[in-house]
Symmetry: D2
Subunit: 412 residues, 4 copies
Amino acid sequence: MDFTPSPKTQDYLARVRAFVAAHIAPVETAYHQENLAANPGGDWHTWRVLPVIEELKTKAKAAGLWNLFLPDAALGAGLSTLEYAPVAEEMGRSLLAPAVFNCNAPDTGNMEVLHYFGSDAQKQQWLGPLLAGDIRSVFCMTEPDVASSDATNLQATIRAEGDALVLNGKKWWATGLGHPDARLAIFMGLSDPAAAPHARHSMVLVPLPTPGVRIQRMLPSFSEFDPPYGHGEVWFEDVRVPKSNLLVGLGQGFAIAQGRLGPGRVHHCMRCLGAAERALELLVRRGLARTAFGQPLLHLGGNLERVADLRMAIDQARLLTLYAAWKIDAQGVKAAMSEISAIKVVAPNVLQRVVDAAIQIHGGAGVSLDVPLTALFTVARVLRLADGPDEVHRAMVARVELAKYKPAAPRP
Amino acid sequence: MDFTPSPKTQDYLARVRAFVAAHIAPVETAYHQENLAANPGGDWHTWRVLPVIEELKTKAKAAGLWNLFLPDAALGAGLSTLEYAPVAEEMGRSLLAPAVFNCNAPDTGNMEVLHYFGSDAQKQQWLGPLLAGDIRSVFCMTEPDVASSDATNLQATIRAEGDALVLNGKKWWATGLGHPDARLAIFMGLSDPAAAPHARHSMVLVPLPTPGVRIQRMLPSFSEFDPPYGHGEVWFEDVRVPKSNLLVGLGQGFAIAQGRLGPGRVHHCMRCLGAAERALELLVRRGLARTAFGQPLLHLGGNLERVADLRMAIDQARLLTLYAAWKIDAQGVKAAMSEISAIKVVAPNVLQRVVDAAIQIHGGAGVSLDVPLTALFTVARVLRLADGPDEVHRAMVARVELAKYKPAAPRP
Amino acid sequence: MDFTPSPKTQDYLARVRAFVAAHIAPVETAYHQENLAANPGGDWHTWRVLPVIEELKTKAKAAGLWNLFLPDAALGAGLSTLEYAPVAEEMGRSLLAPAVFNCNAPDTGNMEVLHYFGSDAQKQQWLGPLLAGDIRSVFCMTEPDVASSDATNLQATIRAEGDALVLNGKKWWATGLGHPDARLAIFMGLSDPAAAPHARHSMVLVPLPTPGVRIQRMLPSFSEFDPPYGHGEVWFEDVRVPKSNLLVGLGQGFAIAQGRLGPGRVHHCMRCLGAAERALELLVRRGLARTAFGQPLLHLGGNLERVADLRMAIDQARLLTLYAAWKIDAQGVKAAMSEISAIKVVAPNVLQRVVDAAIQIHGGAGVSLDVPLTALFTVARVLRLADGPDEVHRAMVARVELAKYKPAAPRP
Amino acid sequence: MDFTPSPKTQDYLARVRAFVAAHIAPVETAYHQENLAANPGGDWHTWRVLPVIEELKTKAKAAGLWNLFLPDAALGAGLSTLEYAPVAEEMGRSLLAPAVFNCNAPDTGNMEVLHYFGSDAQKQQWLGPLLAGDIRSVFCMTEPDVASSDATNLQATIRAEGDALVLNGKKWWATGLGHPDARLAIFMGLSDPAAAPHARHSMVLVPLPTPGVRIQRMLPSFSEFDPPYGHGEVWFEDVRVPKSNLLVGLGQGFAIAQGRLGPGRVHHCMRCLGAAERALELLVRRGLARTAFGQPLLHLGGNLERVADLRMAIDQARLLTLYAAWKIDAQGVKAAMSEISAIKVVAPNVLQRVVDAAIQIHGGAGVSLDVPLTALFTVARVLRLADGPDEVHRAMVARVELAKYKPAAPRP
């Protein structure tokens, strides 16, 4: 349980930090404004990727800061979950950095799925281009018509017909669906309604575009469409793909999802904490720079207590996330279920709280786009729903806690 | 301290409710979508008011549901602050209703300023058209370069030059500035830097457009520009208006602001509570309609406890707001300073909390525009900053509390 | 819904306040110390009532400040629930006052039960002496062996045998059981296990002492035994009382309990708020008097914000309690179930929060007996359990909220 | 930053756990009852140590489970702060264990002071008997007449007179002062009022009894006197001790206090977390064992969410405390000031929160002495004041945070 960053981590951390400082930070504000102007509103048909992004990606690749999330040493950087965690935090300080380093959700999770569960042919077709950053991908799980927090509710269907699989159903919150380079959707659907609840669903690879895949609209979150990625509502109407597009086997959907989500949640949470650090930094800098009633804002009322409370909250959340990462590495995702759920509750809530306080100290500027606070707020607020809402994760933590008290269990 | 709605209130309440049900609710969702399509992004030059708004305003005026906020019986409905409060709450359930009934901020506050502090000529020129709903107005107080929570910081200037007043300075968060009908700005500026802190500023009426008034941009709040009103950043550069545009007299800026804000804060808070009731209704309806793990969402985990806590919070906030309204009517704004500050903290925070919970139970839909929850969230979050941030109001409540313990004070 | 104290209330309020100031406050600290010395620990056999109490009661009776809680104009003061509420708050500022004015729980509730549900003979035997303050009484409901928060769990039994009722079972938290003048216990037990859940229990009057009633021990709450009242554990072993001691009729236990608890909870809550006001006063006085780091404690860190938050919390809780009182008077206990449950959650929690903050600002003195803060804390903490724990009351509030959305219900 | 318990820690942990299970847990309830009976109330003159304590101490010493807190390998167990931390947590599960293992406050802190700052003669006279468990000691710092949270306020005096030091002043909350074996007080007083604020005070060893040392009374905390230790108010009136009783040198009081408090706070916090684990265990066991409304209590309302939240809070607090311990070991107390203050806020607050929830689920039993919950609550509540109140520690954390933003500081 050694949380000291390994030499490899320290090296990557320093290089990522330097890269962000030299190449990303100086252009970030301009990027967001230009992006807003270039890709206004929700009309994804016209969205385009600003050239600066591809330039930055090329530089990052050249600098060896590429696919750091993937534990595989040949394809990625060979970092364990724990080793990658501080790097993810560092990337989380910037809204742009994860994509620049090819470490952005949901592509990372999709690449992990392909890496761990894809056949050689599937890997060749999809994993290569994704790792190269040439294409983007989406994950189609959540459905508009059912409470998807209970994933056994999912009702989109996968039907075998000869050599083909036929997909039907509505999905939404498919992040990245609006991206001009989106070429792959991973689709989760009900393949055997009669099986045990966690063996009913399967995952299928769907090339984009494929006839019958209809993008209905992009969904704003807090009025922001997040171009050029976007979050899409998409309907599958008799979409046919070859059976070879099935991942692993029929009924393996939940098993794959589980494996996908462990390290991915650590990544999400560490990025949250990087974002929280940035928001706290903005809070403190603003609070020291502005004066009211004869004093810097920070020295008024309970502001310093809030700074202290936020510092304690961030530090505790980070340690818990590192602990979850360590446990995943040491004992596997299954043994770390409670910790993974715990950080999934803790980290986004800490981020939301820090950002709310940072907004407050910025006054009107805080809710505008002059500072990235509402964007960070949205990250936090959405993440409290995505990948399982807080409530589902609290239930998991409680379940593991109660299991310690099963009859005949020794003292916990 | 009788909070039973008066017969007049009950009558207006029933009629407003019926009007909203018959005319506004049926078109509200379509309106917001059409408005989004008609007025995308922040380019206020192209903003227009959808015809349905003027139709609804005409109907509301015909129904006698017009200017209900104004206590003056001839010009308004003759309702006291306490009598109007439940009507404001009812309007707050809808994002559209306040404007339809000519009861929306900041026009209401500006009309009050003109009504109470304007000269006859000023009233004739501006109050009439505002009460008729023919023009819209803005209030230019907050400045981008200073912490405006301490209003003595305001540094825009008013300089007398012969028969003219010359205005200079930057203002922002001037709500309504983007409206095609915006014709009047009330400008607060420093007129005598050598006077006592609360006698340094004055208020001046500025026709729109006037040379030197430069709208720099509209400001999004949580990425939403709120067309066709908008919140503007506007620079005043040697703007000249006749001295007769001065309100009351030089150095009276704070006195006017104080008078303006008392009832206005009650209106804001009651609208917040209407919004909170609507969010709670959405929460309960969704929580009963959706099922997970074999139960309606509401029956899972702590959801019912949250419903209870929100109900208690809303009811308490309403009673406190009614109490503040009563105290304003009975003892005047000055005697009610602590209560006014208290509700200004309590009501928006309650709304934020209710909406956050409602978003959570809606899952992804909650952060989209399919339900009005992010719009209500933004109302709450912005109101925790506007008209004085939470911290300033807490300081006021504490100040009044401590004053009870001045030497020789009897037991509080 | 007029919360202005009625002239009668104002008169009683002024007189109670003057009486407390003149007669109780000056002796209160000495009383508690003497009481602690006279009645140490949990040995209730030796407990005695200090003479000062009887002297004060005599004075209070002479001053006409006696049984003010009872709405009956002949036996009490004829105050409605709403009218009595501010008087209860005033009494709640002192730990001693309620008993001095014969307005202390559980005697008040027991007198109400006798007044509303007792036969003439029962009233003559018990209500008279209780109203005179000559005897004290206890209420035996909660049981050690079952979760009594679900009162249908109660398993003590009432068996008819000829002209007698035979009682068996264990009760605890019977407040007042240690009092030298305790002469009556109201016992709730299962009389018909086959009936509908809320018709299974009955209430019986048990003279003290009666053979078979065995006081096992007094229970400390936070190490305090509260002499000379105390909270007892008592076992009933084949206790025989005449059938005429039955209240109302067999199976009426819940109906009586319900009627007993409505106004009683308003009393509890208003006393809580009086206690909260006192704690806030102690907090402010101490925070102004003590200096650290060159400033009065109150001006350090977030202390003033806390004062503001506590003031807002108290004021809101008071208004909600007055509203519940008004609703009981206007529409009856049944219509006010949600509000009664709401205040039962809100008021003790507000008190706990205020006291916790007051302790903090007192430092070590706060947890000692030099100030009454731990006693007030215990009042709050225990009341979050007594008369139904927070959770049961939240469930009630949620239940009433959801009932608004029953099919075909109009908009709430 | 490796938090894996070292082999030595694992060994001690297993042995402590086994010892507690075999020898302490079986007698603990009986001990507390017997102790309450033997040492009732606050009359410390009559207090005695029950024989079982000395028997247990003898056994612990024989088992090599003795003075484990002391990093010195010869005198203690040679455990670093981080290595001892889990052992302290384990001891914290029991209210009795720390004293049995000679690891209880304030003796541990006093032994550390003597070990690190005492002269050879001082060590011989006092450290030996303390390490042997033959005598007990007290720490006299806090004063009743000033806000001791700002230790520069302390006004008790130390005056040199020839070969003697003359001590005057009032102290309170001197824990252990009532113990029959109390033989040493460490006294902190103002020795040079003209020096710099943190060089004004000195520490002096005072044998007990010494003429002029007058124990005024024992102070209850939440009505509990904690015999046979107790918390005393003691007045020093011209108390004379030889100059050789001075620790280190004049003006070194703060330097010594600082060194004393670092590891001591880790011990306190880890014991808090052991106590929190115990309270959570009691909560879960009770919540599973009791039934209401047809279900185990834990499955009602938000109880499972609370369990999850408490688990997350405890785990985060533990990791933060281990991190602080590690930082003390790796970089010294001074570098770890912010972390030490952070845990001092976090851990007692977590304990208070867990215990409050555990009390709630126990109903009336929770506030009685049938379970140790009010005792644990008092531990938490008092610790939020002792060794610096929450507010002082939050201020420290904020101070360190702001220091990162000093001009020219690089990005934090």
